[in-house]
């Protein structure tokens, strides 16, 4: 990023909104801040418009605070609840169509590598479960087959939430939802396993109930995508609005599912990614 990108032109300081001024004076760009520092710096997301108690909103805040280099990160989103929040995110982000996010990201990443061969430009896909596992699955998987150097993050709320609570491929079996009036007839799609087999160098499942772990996984995924290959992080963020629990019960729900064994925190690191991360994290440790 050129240093002048966020700077306010002389004479315009007074008219710029206060949240923009805060981004300039106290934003995360070019600084070593992360999830533990939340509350001490101006976050990249401004007052997200999602429902009260939305775990996806929380996950988004944590992801954005975890970006290793926000000043050189471009996000590709997709249609759904999260797309409502991305207009309020202060890094370049793209919404194209429902489901084409990994194809857009593939072209974008290759273009940025051509234009900035000596610079790291992280391309991160952040999309819902419908966009990732249903309508966009072929483009998601094909981007992995091609070994595109991008990170794919699924915000798994187990439902098409924005359109009013329809069954998705990630809904648990048996759940009664719109378009599944007798309950879903097949289990959650095993996308982490598919990701591993399709060529992802790093795969993780996590939830916002463990913010530090989420941060570490998102960072590992993005760093691995720079050097090794595609990476995938699946973030479980149950939807209070469509699954009808109270806004303050989200984290309890996640823990309950963990206890039941229907949600597990997992990490797969390919041998190549393992070697890469060991070197990187060893070097960090020595610092």
């Amino acid at each position: 990023m050129s240093e002048s990108l966020f700077r306010i032109s002389p004479g315009f300081e007074e008219v710029m909104p206060v949240e923009y001024r805060e981004l300039v004076t106290n934003g995360p760009c070019g600084r070593e801040v992360g999830v533990s520092d939340l509350g001490t710096f101006k976050e990249l997301i401004e007052e997200h418009p999602l429902c009260a108690g939305c775990n996806m909103g929380l996950a988004l805040r944590l992801i954005l605070a975890s970006l290793p280099k926000p000043e050189d990160t471009v996000i590709v989103g997709s249609t759904g609840c999260s797309s409502l929040a991305f207009t309020q995110v202060a890094v370049h982000n793209i919404h194209s169509l429902f489901g084409n996010q990994n194809a857009v990201a593939s072209g974008l990443k290759r273009a940025l590598r051509l234009r900035f061969p000596d610079k790291v430009k992280d391309v991160v896909v952040i999309a819902g479960d419908g966009a990732t596992v249903d309508i966009g699955l072929d483009m998601v998987m094909q981007s992995w087959f091609r070994r595109e150097r991008i990170t794919t993050i699924m915000l798994d709320n187990e439902v098409y939430a924005n359109t009013g609570g329809q069954e998705s491929g990630m809904s648990p079996q048996g759940t009664v939802l719109n378009m599944a009036p007798l309950g879903k007839r097949f289990p959650k799609v095993a996308l982490p396993e598919i990701a591993r087999e399709a060529g992802c160098a790093y795969v993780a499942t996590i939830s916002p109930a463990q913010p530090k772990r989420l941060e570490r996984m998102v960072r590992r995924a993005i760093l691995t995508a720079r050097e090794v290959g595609p990476t995938y992080v699946q973030i479980f963020c149950p939807c209070p609005t469509n699954f009808k629990f109270r806004p303050n019960e989200g984290l309890q729900k996640i823990k309950q599912r963990q206890k039941e064994g229907t949600f597990q925190v997992r990490e797969y690191v390919s041998p190549e990614a393992q070697a890469f991360l060991a070197e990187l994290e060893g070097a960090d440790h020595e610092k």
Partner: protein, 380 residues
Amino acid sequence: MVNQRVVTPEHLFFEAQREKQFITGSEAVREAIRRANVDLAVSYPITPQSESMHLVGDIYAEGYLKEYFRGESELAVMAEVAGASMGGVRVFTATGGPGTLRAFEMFPAWAGARLPIVCAFLTRGVNSPLSIQPDTIEMAFMLDTGILMFHAESAQDLYDMILKAFVIAERPDVHLPVGVFADGFFVTHTREQVAVAPADLKLPPYDPYAAPVPAMDMESAPVRQMRDPFVMKSNFISYAAHASWQQEILAAQERARKYVHRYLEGLVEVEHPEAAVLVMASGTMVSQSREAVAVARQQGLDIGLVKIKSLRPFPREEIKTLARQARTIIVPEYNRVGWLCREIKAAVEDTTKVVGGPRVFGGMTMPPEVVLDQIRRCCA
């Protein structure tokens, strides 16, 4: 990369000494892309387009493009070139027929995102029943997507229009996608003499910082999009914002008109504009009509020919003026629905002058005699 010299578009199009090559339409696509300074191309097979993108792959291997790969479907390919275009590079792809329809959702998205993508549409029939044969039905669907549309009559047109499309698409006051359409097989698979500029010349590179929309590279302002986004809100301001954005795309199409005039040397080409009966056509139907018109004129019939090169922007004024003095306008087409006839009827003052057809479709060729029969009927 192959060492080529950057020259002005004007030099490449109008001044450079041209050499004649006996090549197919697919090879003309290759020769255009060789000189177009394209950064990235994405391919996907569909008859009759496939060969053109094989050949683009070949010149990538020779070092004329920086990046090239095969996508997984037309919808994905159009999304891949969109992502690359948003990343600030010059892109090219090609498709046709069912591929155009498979990718359809992306075309208004390209126009809406103001991406100066150039795509060759090498047309064919659409399902069902299955056909791989020539037909221009897909162009009917494309007319209102917001992209600019040129229709090539020949391999020469295809070469020229593709190169010129990049320059028109990337003008900051236009900055819209351009589709260059050519009739599959008739143009792609037949050989003709094509005059091409020297291969060591190329267009100037695309400048993403001259674009009216920021490249998504975290290098260009603005980074912050909006605090209280109007997207999907149910209020007047959100509707007005969407409506004005759509109008701006149509306005950008209008602003393209002057560049189409400059580079394509007019939206139409007219032979015998004073004639009582005019044949108006686009694509290879112009060639079939030209033969029919030549025979008819030898027989003393008062007939002229209008070749429509640009469909978006559409030559409304040109056609309205031509139609004023004509008694009858004949519109032969390579499709069932007669979309060009509809367009012409929407432009002229007296629609009763417009005679739709003859039309062939599903892969049939149009013998000039069939056009000639129509001319005879209308001149009687």
